[in-house]
Symmetry: C2
Amino acid sequence: MASSTMEFWYEFASTYSYISVEEIDDKAHSAGVRVEWKPFLLGPVFARQGWRDSPFNLYPAKGAYMWRDLERLCVRKKLAWRRPTTFPRNGLLAARVATAIGDARSSKAFTKAVFRSNFVQDEDISDSAVIARALKRAGLSSDEWLQRAATEETKELLRLRTEEAESRGIFGAPTFVAHGELFWGGDRLDDALDWMTSKP
Amino acid sequence: MASSTMEFWYEFASTYSYISVEEIDDKAHSAGVRVEWKPFLLGPVFARQGWRDSPFNLYPAKGAYMWRDLERLCVRKKLAWRRPTTFPRNGLLAARVATAIGDARSSKAFTKAVFRSNFVQDEDISDSAVIARALKRAGLSSDEWLQRAATEETKELLRLRTEEAESRGIFGAPTFVAHGELFWGGDRLDDALDWMTSKP
């Protein structure tokens, strides 16, 4: 069924998700489109395709291209960027925290802080101290949200979210869902927003 | 080294290459960029990554997305489109013919005719009768070019072209090479043209 909200599915380890996290607010605002941020885990999705690592590591030519492409894109879009010394970093803890916070302004602020930790400060986002700092930068209590992230309820919510991604046919990140249609890849954000506004 | 010509690497079986084949002339002309058309074979490149079939067949969610995306893109770009009943079709003969003709206006006309056979008329482009018709539509002698396509010289040229693609880091089609930089995917054609004109 059509919805007036576009869904933004992202994974904390994903390089191209970083670009979308940085630019989606401005672009969606200009287009007059509401966005729901949906963190999920790409690991289980990849595992079911037989991949035990990022395709960017499994296929070196694709990986080499991606790193150069990210560098170029960030220059063009005037985004800070440093190639992380470890890739992919484990985004499980960050995804649980974001899931616990839910779809709120503070969750976006937390998400942006984590992406900058990973792709600008080259910090290990699986480290709870790094996540605690990201929570503080978002104006949130680190003790409270690290605790809530560890509850069974949060874990189950994230599992269900990831299963939902798969059942919707999502196979990579970022993916935008506009009126039920998938648009895969950061370079398809404009297309997804066009789909929202031209097919109401 | 910088070159004033952008390279357009494509594979006859590739759905996203079809869109680029249809739109690259107009876009490059508007940008004032010369384009060299470089047919190559994706099969050997995929085989070296361990794939014995198209990733769109190996990964069903990615395949389902691609078919829907192609349909949407062709509507938006006002291109004729029919999902082929066989995918991928073997583009070896077509690639040999295009290689034999070389980088000429008639080669482009032949290439466009073959892509329409595959993705509009749903014809088997590995069939020499289909290729003969495409040659005729391009105003070329089918006997002459089918013969030249079968020479050792042409076969070797195409092998070398495909090896060149791999050594350049090309891992998919279409790929545009602008001043030595790769841009992968039909949706990056505008970026590649920008790179040609903004970084002379």
